[in-house]
Symmetry: C2
Subunit: 190 residues, 2 copies
Amino acid sequence: MNIGPYSYEDFLVTIKDFHGNIAPGIIAGGIMVDIARANLPAGEFFDVICETGHCLPDAVQILTPCTIGNGWLKIVDTSRYALTFYNKYTGDGTRVFLDAGKLGDWHCIRAWFLKDKPKKEQDFEGIIDEFRRAGTSIYSIKKVKVKPTYISSAKKKSSQVGLCPSCGEAYRTSLGKTCSACQGLGPFID
Amino acid sequence: MNIGPYSYEDFLVTIKDFHGNIAPGIIAGGIMVDIARANLPAGEFFDVICETGHCLPDAVQILTPCTIGNGWLKIVDTSRYALTFYNKYTGDGTRVFLDAGKLGDWHCIRAWFLKDKPKKEQDFEGIIDEFRRAGTSIYSIKKVKVKPTYISSAKKKSSQVGLCPSCGEAYRTSLGKTCSACQGLGPFID
């Protein structure tokens, strides 16, 4: 099977280059991206929501124009292994998820997906082989409508920038009188 | 000047390939990644925090092994244009930020960074040229210590997975009796 423009083997190499290791979740993610694309209206521009930050977003970044830095990819963590391609103006989307109810015969994938075994006891080669043989059979599709907060508004206002009177750095003034780091919400110990 | 393994021109092409357009912020981000790396202890493994989700994370994903999907890149949105490379075990880090106080002579960059002009009135070619000529002179560095929540614990427990009794999908059972989507926190309209 192919994944995006890659042969299965080439996709594994591409995963390793971008992600650092051949994470099984990105193989699944690549197949899920292909399923979503095949179910989109032709020629439609789309944004993507991943429902987990683990692995799946990297499949999207490898295979689509959507990245975390260009804003076309969003992570809304429900912890489910699912992605949604949606029309950014209407919110109409196609959600694809790895379906636990379809994993009956795929023991290696099941042990990995449901964490039936500790990671070091997982059969890594078996998982990769099963993902190839299972093809698209272990995923399900659902039509969804995303919440308005994820839809582009034509009248979206650009945020104002000012200098934080506390740290002196540029920040979105809509956040308050100081930047959020100076409000104690930053990642550092003072 | 070079950015990572790229000539300045080749980096612009790489930005376009990954991000979709030559966003000025990623040029700045690439230079910031190089500054951070040059100030790290030799051979150290690092994680990265970006303080904005706009553009900057893509510079990190293009130039380092850290991606949003492998967890080595985190976004903690303070809205400041800053990134921190840090030791994931000690939390000791090097923070690099685009320093508004150093933009005096760089009018195109200033107009872009502080949003002095609407986007359509920005001098895009001027910004790119100024970033090249300004080199590393418009950034500042600070040693920081990141909060414990961003530090890897050797005893980190793997989360348990179960099937949500409401939607039937696999989820982290630590989230509650149902997955967060079934608690109303998902991205979809029911």
